[in-house]
């Protein structure tokens, strides 16, 4: 990869927090570090992973609305926690977590248990109990929208 080929396909996946180092060769053929704000194929792969997560979270939300599972299912899907990982983080036994996925059992949970879950998901107890209000604004969702906006503005083919 030559210096001038280092891609700058910014799709806000780094949220302006940083750029990443790529290695490329300069005019003399010497390797140098060049900063990149993104590369389209790589962005596509990362967005695909989020799309998958979002689909699972949306599916969980539908099941919550249908009264089949507790809000826990949504936050687990959104945060990519399986029962084992959530158990590791909360010290709540796996068997109990599975029980808490039942809406009725979940409704009777004490504050301490709820607080443990809320902390891991970085949300308030209120959000945990009520579940998400909308399906909007999952991580990655905003980015996808902004790409569509860009392509409209630029007339990208």
């Amino acid at each position: 990869m030559k210096r001038e080929q280092v891609p700058q396909d910014d799709e806000n996946l780094m949220e302006g927090r940083t750029r990443e180092v790529c290695y490329a060769v300069d005019e003399k053929g010497d390797y140098i570090q060049v900063l990149s704000s993104g590369w389209e194929p790589k962005n596509a792969a990362l967005l695909q992973a989020w799309e998958q997560i979002n689909d699972e979270a949306k599916e969980a939300l539908e099941r919550i609305k249908a009264g089949k599972v507790s809000p826990l299912a949504f936050y687990m899907a959104q945060g990519m926690f399986d029962v084992a990982l959530l158990s590791d983080y909360t010290d709540i036994p796996k068997r109990k977590i599975k029980a808490h996925l039942d809406p009725e059992t979940f409704r009777h949970l004490d504050e301490t248990t709820l607080a443990k879950y809320a902390e891991v998901f970085s949300i308030s107890i209120e959000e945990l109990v009520n579940g998400p209000k909308t399906t909007d604004a999952f991580p990655g969702e905003k980015q996808r929208k902004s790409i569509q906006d860009n392509s409209r503005h630029n007339g990208d083919a």
Partner: protein, 333 residues
């Protein structure tokens, strides 16, 4: 308390914190040298180990391996410790910082607040260096960030105690003894030889050049075997492992190219600079491979851009890498 520590950004966190820590003690080393001496170039495809139902692909050795090997090969003694207790792990960190010693830490990125959100998966083998504490905040040189950052006590403790695969358990490390004389040429040769061995001679079909051929053989069957959706997810995962934050592009091939240029200077072997050029060409081919994959994921590929076509490119890459590592082996023998 702040230690005069020079933050320097790198492509990959492990090489980066290794190089940054060693440079603090006057070892004249950069990321690509640390990577090459630690024999960082690798390939593995493990169809029987799955994460989220997708087989594990890796372009690098096991986490921690590069650091361990680089330090050992250079003759640097490292102190390292994991903990049972969270509070004790923070107290131990504070005690070492109080002696003005910068400390390497293994952390998880899921709760790493300064990291871009789309990159915050449950990945627990990230590395950073803590170089001081000011107003209760820890000063952090995270090798993949452009500038130095900071975390509160609670935030840092949380990421040091991430759970799941490769959990850090507070893992901290720092050099305790640097040899008076470092034999850089010997270390470079050792690193190259070990890397040739791992790419060429592991007698299992999943590693090194054999691993690339193996996945090439599998990839062309993906759409039929798995269906379009799952095949596309396999492909996306493969590309992420190849290109995502930390490889410097082309699945570390460009970093290795940079290393070979350094090695040519250290060993006065112009042949290694030629081989660096070949490596650049191979890295470019990996990028072309990823570009086609990206279009398949987005369903913008043309008729020629298929899984079979990608498999053909991988076979070609495997041939070229086999030739390159055979030549490299000769060049340092």
């Amino acid at each position: 308390m702040t230690i005069h520590f020079q933050h320097s950004q790198s492509a990959h966190c492990e090489n980066g914190s290794t190089a940054n820590l060693l440079r603090y003690y006057g070892v004249d080393i950069n990321e690509s040298l640390a990577f090459g001496i630690g024999s960082g170039l690798f390939f593995a495809y493990l169809p029987f180990i799955r994460i989220n139902h997708i087989p594990v692909t890796s372009f690098r050795p096991m986490p921690g391996m590069i650091f361990k090997r680089t330090a050992k090969t250079l003759g640097v003694k490292i102190f390292q410790k994991k903990f049972r207790d969270k509070i004790a792990s923070m107290a131990a960190l504070d005690a070492v910082l109080a002696q003005n010693i910068p400390v390497g830490l293994q952390v998880g990125v899921f709760h790493l607040t300064y990291f871009p959100r789309p990159y915050r998966f449950h990945f627990n083998a990230h590395n950073l260096v803590v170089y001081g504490k000011e107003d209760g905040r820890y000063l952090i040189s995270d090798p993949v960030m452009e500038t130095a950052v900071s975390l509160s006590y609670d935030e840092l403790m949380r990421v040091r105690w991430a759970r799941g695969m490769f959990e850090p358990r507070g893992h901290m490390y720092y050099p305790v003894k640097i040899p008076a004389q470092i034999d850089l040429p010997a270390a470079v040769i050792k690193g190259i030889r070990r890397n040739c061995r791992e790419m060429l001679s592991i007698p299992l079909p999943f590693f090194g050049i054999r691993g690339i051929r193996y996945v090439a053989g599998q990839m062309k069957k993906w759409p039929e075997k798995l269906g379009e959706k799952q095949a596309s997810l396999y492909l996306g995962n493969f590309i992420r492992m190849q290109e995502e934050i930390g490889t410097g592009g082309g699945g570390f091939r460009f970093i290795y190219g940079a290393f070979l240029q350094e090695a040519a200077k250290v060993l006065s072997k112009p042949r290694l600079r030629e081989l660096s050029q070949d490596m650049t060409g191979i890295g470019d081919r990996w990028r072309e491979f990823a570009a086609i994959g990206g279009r398949i994921i987005k369903k913008r590929n043309n008729d020629q851009e298929t899984y079979t076509a990608m498999s053909v490119i991988l076979m070609e890459i495997a041939d070229r890498e086999q030739h390159l590592f055979s030549e490299l082996k000769k060049a340092v023998s």
